[in-house]
């Protein structure tokens, strides 16, 4: 039949899955969907369309929603509706919110497709057996982890969202909306179901998920359960963060090396999103975090790149959580202050606000990363790392979770501070270990790692007028904003195409 034509160099699903070696390449795309934006690095043949490809990078989109909406970051470029994020007056047609939404559901759809194609029945039908069968089951477990991770982001950012699984077919239909609490239960059950199928901690290949990654996600879910479901689960948070702490990962000796080009050698990073200057290139990810944070009189060579995008920096609130912002005492304080003003008179001016020098494309052994043009870093994004488990454990204990003691919590917190100070001079006493301290310590330890919005919401500071930062609510001194902004709106396009969806209140 002359009319039966197929792509010459691509493969149809029917053929692809007959060769078991291809399964891992599809899995590589599921993981790569967080790091890459298309089939070509840094851009080209994009996964999602309608946006600037670089901005639609999963990590960049997530970072923008989690950080630009808080006291941790502002951006200078007036691109589309990006200023609305820091001003906290976004609407349901905000493109940055939509980029994240589309990216999340792209990941979920791809994962569902992989799960559809690797059911026991299909594996049997294709003759996948023995060692390959065991490997395929591992792949499936990891795919379910990745789906749970993306659904977690949907839960955290959007609340009540469309719900699709591998039981649904590809095509035109209207997914039903799932309630936030029900989605919480789904994610929880998925993670527990795959727990025994994932590789043990540190037993999987680098950048692939292991049990500790699943435990981290569960701990985070439980720590925020009161926000997500109204029901506190601090005891479970203690349990799972402790599992992570005891899983064999260890704190990186030098805090700063966690964010440098060879951070793939870190013993602390539990679940990285891997980037590479020649083989995993993007305009989002750490390319954005490094290049966009350089401007003013900063020296590119110190960061291992040749460009200065002059975009993102921080507010005085984050500078002030450090007693000594020079970084000479607490190594986690990494600010470029020369030529930068602490006060942000104008959001559009890069020199207003201290620059954050945390992410770099230089190796702990010296020298820049592998990109010969000096744009794309090798630095991996630490989505989950052990320090967060330390702080989650401490917070859960302070919030009354059973299964851990204040003494343990203090030990875990002081381990971070001892690393940061280089000695015990920064250690705190039990009387100082309180929720306010923990929120500040999370800012000191985890700033610019995509946690801040979730933390501020949990601590009741995100929309409240009692805690403000420069240009919060669009006012230079900062003001309180509407409480409904603790959730982002469902993008209006999906309400248009899916009659089953109800918008989040207030939008």
């Amino acid at each position: 039949d002359d009319l039966d034509l197929a792509p010459k160099y691509d493969v149809t699903s029917a053929n692809l899955y007959n060769d078991f070696a291809n399964y891992k390449l599809v899995l590589a795309k599921l993981y790569g969907g967080y790091a890459l934006t298309g089939l070509q690095g840094p851009s080209g043949a994009p996964d999602v369309t309608g946006f600037d490809e670089g901005k639609s990078n999963y990590i960049r989109a997530y970072w923008q929603l989690q950080e630009l909406t808080t006291d941790e970051a502002v951006v200078a470029w007036n691109d589309g509706t990006i200023f609305d994020l820091h001003d906290m007056d976004w609407s349901s047609s905000n493109e940055y919110i939509r980029m994240m939404y589309d990216r999340i559901y792209y990941q979920i759809a791809l994962t569902n497709e992989f799960l559809r194609e690797t059911t026991d029945a299909k594996l049997s039908e294709r003759g996948v057996a023995e060692a390959n069968l065991a490997e395929a089951k591992k792949y499936r477990a990891e795919a379910r982890f990745l789906r749970a991770l993306s659904y977690y982001h949907a839960l955290d950012l959007f609340g009540n969202v469309p719900f699709v699984t591998e039981q649904d077919k590809v095509g035109a239909f209207f997914p039903n909306q799932i309630k936030r609490a029900d989605l919480f239960n789904f994610i929880e059950s998925e993670l527990k179901a795959i727990e025994s199928e994932l590789a043990g901690p540190k037993q999987n290949e680098y950048a692939r998920a292991d049990q500790a990654a699943a435990w981290m996600l569960l701990a985070k879910m439980y720590l925020n359960s009161e926000v997500y479901t109204g029901q506190a689960k601090y005891t479970e948070a203690v349990t799972y963060s402790k599992k992570v702490i005891n899983s064999g990962y260890s704190l990186q000796q030098n805090y700063r090396h966690l964010f440098w080009a060879d951070n793939n050698t870190s013993p602390e990073i539990i679940f990285p999103i891997a980037f590479d200057g020649t083989r995993t290139k993007t305009w989002g990810g750490t390319t954005f975090l490094i290049n966009a944070s350089i401007g003013g009189n900063m020296n590119n060579a110190d960061f291992g790149v040749k460009e200065k995008w002059g975009g993102i920096r921080t507010t005085k609130n984050i500078v002030n959580v450090f007693a000594d912002p020079s970084g000479n005492t607490d190594k986690r304080a990494q600010f470029h202050r020369d030529g930068q003003k602490l006060e942000i008179e104008s959001i559009g001016s890069f020199t207003d606000g201290y620059a954050v020098t945390k992410y770099r494309n230089i190796k702990s052994t010296g020298g820049a990363g592998s990109d010969p043009a000096g744009v794309h870093p090798d630095t991996d994004y630490p989505m989950f790392r052990l320090a967060d488990a330390h702080l989650m454990f401490a917070e859960a204990v302070v919030r009354g979770g059973a299964g851990g003691t204040m003494a343990e919590a203090l030990t875990y917190v002081n381990a971070l501070r001892q690393r940061a100070y280089g000695n015990t001079s920064g250690n705190i006493s039990a009387s100082q270990l309180n929720l306010n301290f923990i929120l500040d310590e999370r800012a000191r330890e985890l700033h610019w790692e995509g946690h801040r919005r979730t933390d501020l919401i949990r601590f009741g500071r995100f929309t409240s007028g009692t805690y403000v930062w420069p240009w919060k609510g669009g006012v230079k001194e900062g003001r309180g904003v509407e409480e409904y902004r603790r959730l982002f709106p469902i993008p209006s396009f999906d309400l248009t195409v899916n009659p089953n969806l109800v918008q989040n209140p207030g939008y």
């Binding site: 010459k8 020649t278 899916n498």
Partner: protein
Amino acid sequence: MTNALLKNRLVPKGWLNPRQGKKASSFLLFLVAFLALSLGQASAQQRTITGTVTGDGAAPLIGVSVVLKGTSTATATDVNGQYSLPFTGTAGTLVFSYIGYVTQEVPVGTQSTINVNLLTDAKALEEVVVVGYGTQRREDVTGAVATVTEESFNRGLVTTPDQLITGKVAGVQITSNGGAPGSGSTIRIRGGSSLNASNDPLIVIDGVPLDNSAISGSPNPLSLINPNDIESFNILKDASAAAIYGTRASNGVIIITTKKGAAGEKFRVQFNTIASLYDLTDQVDVLSADEYRALINERGTDAQKALLGNTKTNWQDQIFRRAFASDNNLVLSGSVKNLPYRLSLGYLDQQGTLKTSGLERGTLALNLNPSFLDDHLRVNLNVKSSLSKSRFADEGAIGSAVIFDPTQPVYAENPKLGGYYEWVNSDGTPNNLAPKNPLSLLEQRRNVSDVMRSIGNLQVDYRFHFLPDLRANLNVGYDMSRSEGSTFAPMTMASVFNQGGSFSEYEQEKDNKLLDFYLNYSKDLTALRSRVELMAGYSYQNFLTKSPSFPVYTEAGVVFTPAALFPFETENTLIGFFGRINYTFNDRYSLTANIRRDGTSRYSADNRWGTFPSIALAWRISEEGFMKDSRLFSDLKLRVGYGLTGQQDFGSNYGYLPFYSYGQNTASYQFGNQFYTTLRPAGYDVDLKWEETKQYNAGLDFGFGAGRVTGSLDYYLKETNNLIAFINPAAGTNLTNGLFTNVGAIESKGVEAALNVNILNNEKANWSVGVNGTYNDVKVTSLSRFEDPNAVGQPGGQISGGTGNNLQISSVGFTPFAFYVYKQVYNAEGKPLEGVYVDLNKDGIVNERDLYRYKSPQAKVFLGFNSDLTYGNWNLNFVLRANIGNYVYNNIHSDKGNFQVTSNNTYLNNLSPNFLETNFNAPQYFSDYYVQNASFLRMENLNLGYNFGKVYRDKVNLRLSGVVQNVFVITKYKGLDPEVGSGIDNNFYPRARVFSLGANLEF
């Protein structure tokens, strides 16, 4: 009687050439002349008058009737166009007549030699109209068809065929794509009927449908055809005319025929040469060096003041030039025994007004059209090839020139950067954020391509001996191109300094294969006062595109970007079955019905076949009894038609298939110590199917004053359903966030009118004028699978300045791509107030909900006016064109007309003087202030010619012409050019005024 015989023959395509028709009629005329000669006898005092009769320049005419007026003395011209007639007496008048030419009467004096040049009778040529898969008598045509022949073509330096007919046809809009050499135009017939599928009309050259998609290394696919080889354009505007082409006819069909040799024609050589000068008439408005220096000294920071230079540079003067072009064409035509041939060689050398850009093109066209088997077998062979070399200047240089600091010099002591002035960091490396030296962008980058294209077909038409009314026609054709190109930028070029220079290359092969076959049966049923024509056929087309993958290298030859893992290859196939019935009753009632069933490889097996019928009726009112004696109307015909056409031409060949693609090396993902190629599934819609357009047309053709005034009036309505739209599926339901599927509807309606008046027609002078107008209204009627009254629409229209800003929207109930903006508020002096907009929904806040649809880029009314005056040996003609109701978003003002453009302490940017009017500090992209009225009147073409007649001892016919193109434009629009098809003007490439001098020699 001769005309009647001719009109009664249905002449199939390929036999259109009037010279062939003339051959048949000349035989008859010769017979008449012979009889007349035999009957007439000599008388006393007889002498012989001899001479030569020529037409269409210097071509000798065979078989011209030469009659001594009032007598039976007659003869005809021979194969050399010469005659000899006995003459008695001292006074009389010779009458020269020939079909298709104006009859001429010449008084006889004492001379024995009388030479005559006959002028073409334009009206006669229009008797036969080219339609899909054949021809039809104009009187019988039921659809909306417009014809433009060579006599009506625009004059001057014409580098692409579409320029020949700009402004000439109602309902047809041709918009230039820009100033670069060979860039061509966008063609729309009655607006478009699709949102995402192609809105381009189908173009058929000598029976070969073209693939409109881009060819690597060539700015415009039609630019590879030599306009000098084109004989006629026939435009099928409505479905009843176009439906026979089925799949690709939703946007109308343009049928191009090329010139051919004529049997019996004497060997002839024709040489045309045109030399042209391109002169830019305008530049983008920017501040001068003095103005800019004053502004910075007044408002800039100390750091900015320190950056100012001490010179004056007009950067646009640096990058633009007067450009020269030379277009030469040599035609050899004649007949070898009974084999007519025409060989055309063309050479075009065109400079671009942007320095370093240029196009060099050689073309060859060969036509052979022999006949065999006692004229039962007619063969038409066409081959058209072109070879073009282009150098593309980096048009980003224009953007750089507009914004580059005018106080800085062109050159600097900077060998690392090629000696050009650049903004640099403290260590001497280029400042990445700053604009680059425009001249460096032009002179240091070399972007070249070589393109070969060939279009050809072999058409065989066989009239059966046993049943002469039955014809079989086989057409085998191809359209192939081969292109390759490369771009080299040395490491001294600032933008590639960090990566160490850049070299990249590409190649592309495109092959389009065609096979058409049809049977045609036509019969005059005189007893029933009927004429019937039946036609049935089959069509096959295959489109294949291939490109190898190449790495990008640095100047040192190191691989900077690895080659893609696989070459690119994509293919699609179209198969069609078609039929048509034409029925004419009593020479006044005509019916045409078409049916086409098309299959495409772009849809799944369940959806790939579509059936597309059409029907049309025509009533020649002027032939009715009650009109027979009327002197008012020379012609009056009413036409109505309906047709259904399909569309499958959108961006993807495999949109219904689930397939996976391999990622490149640069998009691998790390597992452990290895980087794995990623395998990504593509989104798909297994239910993807034909987009369907219903078209209704009602028209009136009329003539007054014995045919000196002719015109037509049409009303049309197009409804497109199952729009192939690029939509966002509900989150999580597909493997992509955007894909092509069938959703939505669009409606387009309008009125077309055309009027042609022959004001003067005598021996001394002939003057014709033509007026055409179109009113067009397009609306989106549906955009989603279920109606949501709150849905805003589909955004579009990205602009310069801040990535991701969409200024346009397509919404239900509105024109597509309407501007979606805020309502600007002004102060009492009429100045816009920065950031002050109307709260249209009165909710107390100005946000996305206060955007409103304000105007659209689509003009409502299109007008054309042309005039052609011949006085003696002089000829003057011009074309005027107007669009009314189109608006343009002036992105140059919105992006460059605010002080923030220059807001940087490490480099300086120039501004648009619009800043001095608005005084905006920050850009206000969404203000409706920037949506400006772009209605215009343009004089497209002004041509003055003189025919010297025979020179050089009567061996050569010489005609000179002078042409000005883009003579003037009248508009309120503040930008460079009001004709911006997309509606968003961030174009900096001005259109040039072109002055040409041409010579035509024939011998």
